[in-house]
Amino acid sequence: MTCQFNDGKTARSVAVSPDINSDDLSFVTGENRYIWNFDKLLLIDRLHRKLSYKDDLDARLVLDEDIFSNLQIHAPHLSASAERAKSLSLIAKLAASGIAISAIVFFGVPIAAGPLARMTPPSFELQLSESVESQLDVGMDFCYIDPQSEAILQGLANRISNNANLNFPIKVGVIDMSMPNAFAMPAGKIWITRGLFQYAKNGNEIAAVLAHEIAHVENRDVLVSIYRAMGFGIILDAVVGGGSGAGQQLVLWGANLTDLKNSREVEARSDRRGLELLEKANIASTGMAVFFERLEKLEKAMGLGDWAVFLSSHPNSGKRAAEAKSLAKTGENPISAADFERLKKICN
């Protein structure tokens, strides 16, 4: 029954023969006698049956199998079941913290982002807009718009936005890009691509796109999405650590999918608000449904099935078309055929 002791003061190993008493474990090394109370025993390594002592943390006692088995009866906190219980308690606490943090990330942040954006002073959004514009300038080619085309485009934007509750005047710009797209920036700036003008079949469709983007500006959606992304970023970076582990990546994926879901809801709401704005401006809102129907065909031609919507920031174009069709109202054609033809050549 030889066991090994290291006193934690020198690297010398000493053979010892410990005795298990009623309240303690005792052993002798040369002239020193050690008495270790059961309560203060610490398990360092179950595989090697290595113990330490609360009052002498550097000391190590390696027991043989018989003594270790016997000792666990007197000091149950050294048993495997006690160790498991301790681990489970830790996991439960961490899981509870995880659930609380998840609730903040997945529900709290999206809920708080809207009111926070609306409380933000417009001057702040204006400053943000200037910064974003200067960054856009690096990666995009902006089109020169002749005064006549600018008047048509700006006139249409003003007519739609007259009934919107805006903090900023709407200013429309055009980007030299073939892909049909449009997006709102902070502080009322709306960018439309050259491709969208070429893709549109009439002025109603351009009005529908503008109305959708004006709805984003009205709701300050860009700022909302920045706050949402920041909230996700700060909390997830702080908690998950942005690491490359499988678990970390799964959580980040979950957060991204949640962000995309929120984004799709915002887009659907902007569709509905855009249709309202068109109706208030007495502009036919039938163009939105037709536009989305054609967009759906384009997406299908590119091999993007319905499944892709889960990875998209925008709702399924077919669904958008169906909803727009159900809410569409008749009205005026906002621009003449000649003006529309002029806009189609806006970047040429």
């Binding site: 290291n6 830790l90 200067s134 499988a246």
Partner: protein
């Protein structure tokens, strides 16, 4: 106590020894399979706890690796805790992560020039403290590594190491990477030359690295890197132009073609990275051998008998494990790496361990700063 281990060290008696001096015999009981379950449990608990468990997961992997490594038939011991790592992480979050996010966001609100200067200054600061992160991680690992009840320790100060590291990085930048071999030896000297087992100091004699032919092997890797880069850039230029024209046309078929080109570019990049890795592998193996040969403890010197093909084999299999398990089996890869080192580590001469006395206690907090930069030692 006597444990049956896979002993690998060749012993030699070419140095004088006292009665209590010992040869160093390294062994292990590491089996990659033992770490499979740990990988799955860690991942599962990581998801359940929104990854907060990762500090304890890392600790469990280290504990299992350390206790499976033996010197003179006695196991090493890792005394770090998940709580230590968690505390370090919280400190790093408060000191680095949150200020970083705030600064990046605030810079967006400023005029581009001022924003750019602020971001540049912050990036410079980050580079300055990367050295501290490495040093703190190394010190923590040393202080939590125990053998025969005596812990290892790293002396020095993170500020000194940080400044040295930053200086080395700058020299490497100025010399387009050619300072790299010298830099790695210098860093190893600062880490291993300040390492202690109890009060017994390790020594690092960089003169021994001179026989390692580091520069010719580095030049080989560098030449392949440059040739590869030139080839890749000429390929990229053509692909990018083709991509731009297909995206401009707006035709769905052309757009798909453009996206395929992007896929091809990524594939080429992957191939390039693999080629660079292979090209530098002889240098990496030589560097590992050189660093090991510079280290000594008492009258013992160390050797790492590693060939570049063995190292490539380790990297290749570990990469397959990581990729095909989506990182879940990272502990297996870590265990294999540790086993690889132990199986190739030899020592000549003896150490009088009986003379070693306990050193100072280690730091209270862990390598949080290195976690913030994702610098993983193990």
């Amino acid at each position: 106590m006597s444990e049956e281990t896979n002993e690998t060290s060749a012993l030699s008696q070419d140095k004088p020894s006292t009665d209590t001096s010992e040869n160093l015999v390294f062994g292990h009981k590491i089996s990659g399979g033992d770490f499979v379950g740990l990988g799955f449990i860690n991942t599962l608990l990581g998801i359940v706890t929104l990854t907060l468990y990762r500090f304890w997961a890392r600790t469990n992997v280290r504990k299992q690796i350390w206790r499976s490594i033996y010197m003179n038939n006695e196991p090493f011991e890792y005394t770090g805790t998940g709580g230590d790592l968690f505390k370090g992480f919280l400190i790093a979050t408060a000191v680095i992560t949150v200020p970083y996010l705030i600064i990046i966001f605030s810079a967006q609100m400023m005029p581009p020039l001022i924003g750019g200067i602020i971001i540049f200054a912050f990036v410079l600061f980050i580079y300055l403290i990367i050295g501290a992160a490495i040093w703190l991680a190394f010190r923590y690992l040393a202080s939590r590594t125990v053998w025969r009840g005596i812990r290892f320790s790293l002396k020095g100060h993170p500020k000194d190491f940080s400044l040295m590291y930053f200086g080395q990085l700058m020299l490497n930048l100025i010399t387009i990477g050619w300072w790299s071999p010298k830099m790695e030896i210098t860093i190893a000297k600062w880490l291993w030359g300040e390492m202690y087992y109890g009060d017994l100091p390790f020594n690092f004699d960089e003169q021994r690295a001179k026989d390692a032919k580091l520069y010719p092997l580095f030049a080989l890797g560098w030449a392949i890197l440059i040739i590869g880069e030139i080839t890749l850039v000429s390929l990229f230029a053509g692909d990018f132009m083709a991509f731009e024209s297909s995206m401009k046309s707006g035709n769905p078929e052309d757009i798909m073609h453009g996206l395929n080109l992007i896929g091809l570019i990524y594939l080429s990049l992957f191939g390039f990275l693999a080629l660079i890795l292979v090209a530098f592998m002889p240098y990496r193996a030589a560097m590992m051998r050189a660093i090991a040969s510079c280290i000594s403890l008492d009258n013992a010197t160390f050797r790492l008998e590693v060939t570049w093909l063995q190292l490539l084999g380790l990297w290749f299999v570990n990469t397959l494990i990581l990729v095909f398990s989506f990182g879940i089996l990272a502990p297996v890869a870590q265990a294999r790496a540790a086993r690889f080192i132990i199986e190739h580590l030899k020592a000549d001469g003896q150490v009088d361990f009986a003379m070693a006395e306990q050193g100072e206690a280690g730091p209270n907090q862990a390598e949080g700063l290195s976690d913030a930069f994702d610098i993983g030692i193990i």
